[in-house]
Amino acid sequence: MLLRALERLAGGALAVLLGAFALILCAIIYQGAAALVPPPVLQVAIDGGEKITGLLLKDSPSQVELLLEIRAAKPVWRRIDRSQILHRSEPADACLLSASDGRLRVQASCRSDEPGWSVSYPNAGGMLGLQRWSKAISDFLLAPVRPDGQGGIGSALVSTFVLVLVMTLLVVPFGIGVALYLAEYAADTKVTRALRLTLANLAAVPPVVFGLFGLGLFVHVFGRQLDQWLYAERLPSPTFATGGLLWASLVLALLTLPVVVVACEQGFRRVPQRLREASLALGATQTETVLRVLLPAARPALLTALILAVARASAEVAPLLLVGAVRYAAQLPISSEAPFVHLERPFMHLGYRVLDLATSSAGGQYALQQAFACALVLLLLVLGLNGAAIAARFRLRARYRDLS
């Protein structure tokens, strides 16, 4: 009876979790997509003959909310009760003036060459508003970032991608090495048991502590030392002795190491003993056996480890704030000139962007939508990275299914 009740409880909990997950996903997609669809420009005539033109931000049954302009990073709103509205329209030649410093103006009509402003016509959508969509999405992704952190998210997206990539390159070989040692070479002694325990406990350390550790050791000790050896001519301005891509990747690598090691070790242990015996009995050394039998047979598990590491690393923001994530970086961490990847540069990060937007006082509802849109892109990035690994694992699984 008790078991029955437990089963039901577990089933119920699972259903609730799934429901919650679906809800979160819906919220992200709904809100995020709303930020990507630019609002139309609405012109309303109200009692008293006044005509108001503004971006339609909220259209509820009782009132509409219009954004009239953004002046010195301060949005100017106007709430209008529905009962006051005599007439509303979306004039095709209504235009949006935006300046590179973030100022914004909405006008009922304008000339095409306002000096200092770039002009767009949100309502002149053409078929299905396609033009409007593509403009909004390209603005969201490609518009240059401004020093206050507003603007397109493209560079943050690229930086996040590069960060995760460098982290992967660091953690996967090292994690596989440690897992191999634990699974294949280490005898079951007190030392190896202590090592395992340490690893398990490492997984329970709050991420921000890793960030602090990275700041203290990597940035302040390693970074200073590196600067003295290699970049003495640039001192006192720091090169590596400040937060940067390398240190952030290292912190993330440390953070994901336990996950990678545990997943890889499981994978190695699941390779049947008879395959090791077969290889040794043919005269292979242990190294040859590891390289030719064990690693190939454990590939699905290694990919699982990779997936877990990427998912975990893309989700972390807190430790990055301490070791190199910045609101605004003038340069990307990659470039088209040698050495292509600039490990010392501070970088922008999608997760930080979400945090920044969601907690900023300016922008209100609009900024929150932007944050959701960022979250959506971050989600898609993780999905894309993992999708590739999952597809590879799926193909390998089919091949190795008969093993177990």
């Binding site: 395959l275 077969a278 040794l280 009995a281 008969d402």
Partner: protein, 252 residues
């Protein structure tokens, strides 16, 4: 009896302080089949693993006594175990092909030890498969997955894989116990063919099988060698009561 290819002198094995084998002195003449029979848990498989030092995989195993390969003490010459295992091949109870193609399985050992050209490799893979009696069944699908073969075919595949590195001795650990009667018969025929070129040591729990294929038979119980003789004599006129009880099925 001509000079033994493989010989053990006072071979003993302890695992974690527990005695598994003691005082086993046994010689295996060239081009012959020696069967090792005995009840489950008597140490047959452990004995086989002592011969190619797969006991190394058991962390607490301690092996004593001598193993002589062509009259030479393995320990004294400090022959590396991989080299020993190339010369003393082994086939296990359950077929254990590697995940991968049939071709890659047979080529595995050769790729370790030499750097054969593609032509050499192909020739020797073919020769090994012919010797293992599998060539006619797989010649058109060498690139197929080895795990798609039937169990009986897999077992002949791993025999081919062992033959491909040209061992002098082949250890067979109950090679037919996981197989159906027809596959078993094929393995037995194969063993009879292979003894013209190799020295074979066959561990089996099947007394009839030992009587059918082995020239010599050794009976073990409780980690000791109780009797060793030509099969004809051991099965017709055993010297010890325990042997007689075992082979007539009155054991225990």
């Amino acid at each position: 009896m001509s000079k033994a290819v493989l010989e053990t002198v006072d071979l003993g094995l302890k695992v974690g302080g527990r005695v598994i084998l003691s005082d086993i002195s046994l010689a295996f003449p060239p081009q012959s089949v020696t069967a090792i029979i005995g009840p489950s848990g008597c140490g047959k498989t452990s004995f086989l693993r002592c011969l190619n030092r797969l006991t190394e995989l058991w962390p607490q195993a301690k092996q004593s006594g001598k193993v002589l390969l062509n009259q030479v003490d393995i320990e004294r010459t400090a022959m590396p175990y991989p080299e020993l295992r190339r010369r003393v091949g082994m086939v296990f109870q359950r077929p254990n092909p590697f995940p991968g193609t049939i071709y890659d399985n047979v080529a595995y050992g050769m790729r370790l030890h030499q750097r054969p050209t593609r032509v050499e490799l192909e020739e020797r893979v073919e020769a090994a498969l012919i010797n293992a009696g599998l060539w006619d069944e797989v010649r058109d699908r060498l690139d197929d997955d080895a795990l798609a073969l039937s169990l009986g075919q897999q077992q002949r595949l791993v025999i081919a894989r062992a033959l491909a590195v040209e061992p002098e001795v082949l250890l067979l650990d109950e090679p037919a116990s996981a197989l159906d009667p027809i596959s078993t018969l094929r393995i037995e025929t194969l063993v009879a063919e292979l003894k013209t070129r190799f020295t074979l040591i066959l561990v089996t729990h099947n007394v009839q099988q030992a009587a059918r294929v082995a020239d010599y038979t050794a009976f073990m119980d409780g980690g000791r060698l109780l009797e060793h003789d030509e099969s004809v004599r051991l099965f017709t006129t055993p010297k010890r009561q325990e042997t007689e009880d075992y082979i007539t099925g009155r054991y225990g």
